[in-house]
Symmetry: none
Subunit: 402 residues, 2 copies
C-alpha cells in the first residue's frame, strides 16, 4: 500500500496524537549480559505502557537499509522514504530557519583545513567552535561576489557545519559534491550531471576559487567542502495530508527543519529532555499532533557509549508519567532508526515501537525491548505505515469502500 492511500480517508476530529521519538533507540547486545541498551535500561513506565498497548518492530526504509535521519523521519510521518528524496542542503536550510524561496539552491558546508598542497587535512577544521564558524560565515558573506544575477547567503550551523544558499534563476542541484569524504585528498571539482547544470557548476567553481582566497589567512577553517546540493522543494504537509495542527518539540536543527518542511509549528528550544516534556504539557491544548524528539539516544549510540545511552533511556522513562498524564488519545513511543552503541553508528535493524490507545488490541508483550517486540501485535512493518495506524487509533480515518 502506498502510504498516501490513507490521505483520502482522513476525517477531522479533536483527538490528539503524541509521537515520542527516541532517536536511534534500537540497539544490539554488548558485553556479557547479552542485552541491548533498551533491554538493559530500567524502564518501569515504558514497560507498563507496553503491557497495555500494542507493540512491534518498524523498518525505516527496507530490509538491510541503514537510513540517515532524513529518510527515517519522513518515514515516521507517513512519507515513502525512497520516493521522498530530500537533499541534505534543503534539510540544513530548513533546520536553521532560513527564509526559503523557490529560486534557491542549498548546499551543506563543512568548514575544513587544507594544507599548502591543497590536500584536506581535517574535514571538520578541528571541530571548530560555532562562534568562529559564525565569524567565517560573516566574512564570506561580506566578500563573495557572484555577479548581479546570483545572491549569496552563508549561515552557521553547529561547530564546523554551515549552510550556503544561492538565489537566482535556473540554478540546478544536479551537481557532484566537492567534499572528498576523507582526509588526505584534495577537494573535488563539482561537475554538472547534465547540460542544464553547466552554468551552476561554473558558479560553484567560481565560489570555491573566491573562498580559497578569502579564507587563506585562516589557520584552521581555510576551505569549505560542499555536498547535498538541493533546490527548494514543496511538500504535501501534515496539515494538508491529514488535517493536523502539528507541533514539533526538538532541539536539533535538522529535526526542526524536517518538521518545518512538513508544515509543523516549531516550539522554541528548551535545552533539556525535561524541558521538552514540559513544553508538551504547556502546548497540549493548542495542537493535535506532537512530535517530541529526543536526540541523545542517537548521539550516545554514535559515540559508542552504551551505558550513557541506557541512562538517557531511563531518564526518558522517568518523564513518561508526565506524558501519559496528559491522556493523549494515541501515544507512540519509538525511534527513527537503530543506533547500536557497539556499531557507533546508525544501522538497519528494525526499531521497537509502542502504540498506546483505547482501541489497541492487546498482545503479550510485557516489556519494551527489541526481543519482546518481536512478539508484538503489530509484528514487523514498514515505518511509513505507522502514521496511518496512529491516525486510525485516533479515529481520524474513515472506512474505505462500502
Amino acid at each position: 500500500m502506498n502510504p498516501e492511500f490513507i490521505d483520502s480517508l482522513v476525517i477531522k476530529n479533536k483527538t490528539k496524537i503524541v509521537y515520542l521519538i527516541m532517536d536511534g533507540i534500537g540497539g544490539l547486545p554488548s558485553g556479557n549480559s547479552h542485552l541491548t541498551e533498551l533491554e538493559t535500561a530500567r524502564t518501569p513506565h515504558l514497560d507498563a505502557l507496553a503491557q497495555r498497548s500494542v507493540c512491534g518492530l518498524l523498518d525505516p526504509v527496507g530490509y538491510g537499509v541503514t537510513p540517515g535521519s532524513g529518510p527515517a523521519h519522513f518515514s515516521l510521518f507517513g512519507y515513502d522514504p525512497i520516493k521522498t528524496s530530500v537533499g541534505r542542503g534543503l534539510l540544513s536550510a530548513a533546520g536553521i530557519d532560513f527564509s526559503m524561496t523557490e529560486r534557491d539552491l542549498f548546499m551543506r558546508v563543512n568548514l575544513a583545513t587544507i594544507n599548502a598542497d591543497g590536500i584536506v587535512t581535517d574535514r571538520r577544521a578541528g571541530r571548530i567552535d560555532t562562534d568562529s564558524n559564525r565569524r567565517i560565515c560573516e566574512k564570506m558573506q561580506a566578500k563573495i561576489d557572484l555577479g548581479t544575477n546570483v545572491e549569496f547567503f552563508m549561515a552557521p550551523e553547529k561547530e564546523h557545519r554551515a549552510l550556503i544558499a544561492l538565489r537566482g534563476d535556473d540554478l540546478s542541484d544536479e551537481l557532484t559534491d566537492s567534499d572528498p569524504e576523507a582526509a588526505g585528498k584534495a577537494p573535488l571539482t563539482p561537475r554538472a550531471l547534465n547540460p542544464k547544470a553547466q552554468r551552476t557548476a561554473q558558479i560553484i567553481q567560481n565560489l570555491l576559487q573566491q573562498t580559497r582566497t578569502i579564507l587563506s589567512d585562516e589557520e584552521r577553517a581555510n576551505m569549505i567542502l560542499l555536498r547535498g546540493f538541493a533546490r527548494y522543494q514543496k511538500f504535501n504537509t501534515l496539515p494538508e495530508r491529514f488535517g493536523l495542527t502539528p507541533l514539533a518539540i526538538a532541539e536539533y536543527p535538522m529535526y526542526r527543519g524536517i518538521a518545518r518542511l512538513l508544515g509543523m509549528d516549531i516550539h522554541p528550544q528548551t535545552g533539556s529532555i525535561e524541558g521538552e516534556i514540559a513544553a508538551l504539557g504547556t502546548s497540549f491544548d493548542n495542537y493535535d499532533f506532537f512530535f517530541v524528539h529526543i536526540k541523545p539516544t542517537d548521539s550516545l549510540g554514535e559515540d559508542g557509549n552504551f551505558d550513557a545511552k541506557v541512562k538517557i533511556i531511563e531518564e526518558v522513562d522517568s518523564h513518561l508519567p508526565a506524558i501519559t498524564g496528559l491522556n493523549p488519545d494515541v501515544l507512540v513511543v519509538t525511534g527513527d532508526h537503530s543506533t547500536p552503541a557497539v556499531m557507533c553508528g546508525h544501522s538497519w535493524h528494525p526499531v521497537p515501537v509502542i502504540l498506546a490507545s483505547q482501541t489497541c488490541r492487546p498482545d503479550r508483550v510485557e516489556r519494551f525491548g527489541e526481543r519482546d517486540c518481536i512478539g508484538g501485535g503489530l509484528s514487523r512493518i514498514p515505518t511509513m505505515h505507522l502514521m496511518g495506524l496512529a491516525l486510525a487509533h485516533a479515529g481520524k480515518l474513515s472506512k474505505y469502500g462500502a
Copy 2:
C-alpha cells in the same frame, strides 16, 4: 522496496558471505509425531547456530505461490522473482554450459513415447538413460535441416531431458509449448502468441515434423516435447550489482546454470555433500560470496521419502562445523522453497532461515525448525530481501540519505 534499491548503496570490502541452501528444506508433519522433516532431524549444530543468530521465515515469491527452482533461486540472490521471468530453456542452456549468443532461442526438451495414433504414452520415454539420450541428440543433430538461415543444436541433459537451441535472426520466444503436460494426449502444435513470432512457429512446426520421421525407428524416445521457449537474456550479475566475487558449489545443472547467468564462477562437481563442503574450504580465500547448493533434500521430498530427507538434513548438520570453522562474516542457512515429503512436490509454505553474523540482534529461537522460526527476529519476509540483509550484515551497504 524494490530489491534493486540496495544496488546504489553497495560498498566493496573483504568480508565473506556463505549461503548454505538446502533445496526444498521446508516441510510438513507426517505420521504420529506431528513434526516436520527439519523438526524431526537431530541438528545440534544448526540449533546452536540458530541460538546465536537471527531466524525467521522467507516467502520465495508470495503468499500461496509455489515456486519452481528458477524463481526461488533468483529470489535468494536478490532478484524480484516476478519481474525476473526466465524461460526454462534458458536455464537449461546455462545449466549445460551451452555457449550462448544473442541470436539464440532455447527450449527444454523431454524425450517422450507416442503410440501409433500419435498419443503420448510416456512423457519421459521410460526415464530413458542419459547415454541413449546422447545417442538420440547426435542422431537429431546430424539429420535436422532448418535451412540456411537457422542453425540447430541439440544436447542431452540427464535421463530424458535435453536442450534444443536454434540460432538465427529475429527468432521469437513468444510461442505456446508442444508438451501437453500429461500422457494420453497428443503433442500440441506450438502457436505464435503474436504476429512477430509466426515465422518461428513455422520453423518449430517444421522441426517437429522432421523429428517424427527421424525418431520413428526408436522404440521409446520416438518424439520430443518442447516447452519453456526462451531467448538469450543478459542479467545484471552479482559482480555488477553487488561488487561480489561469487562462487557456486552445486551438483545439478540447473543451479549451476542459474549461478552462471548471475555471474558466478562454477566449482567443478564434487559428487557429494562432503565434497561440496570441502570445496568451500579450499576455495574460501579466493571469493567473497559462496552459494553452496544441497540438492537431495528436495529430491527426497519430491520422492515422498520423509525419513531419507531427515537423514540428509542430519548429514548437512554434521558438516556445519566445517563451515562455521571458516568464520564467514555472514552465514545464511535456508532453502529456496519448501518440498514437504507428504506432498511429494514443491509447496508455497515459507522457508525457515538462519542468518548468523556479529551484528545479529538476538531473538529467542533455540532450535532450527519451522515452528521455532515463527518467533524469529527476522519475522516473515520476502526471500528477495535476504540478499540485502546479508550484504548489510557483511558491512557491504552504506547509509541511505543524510
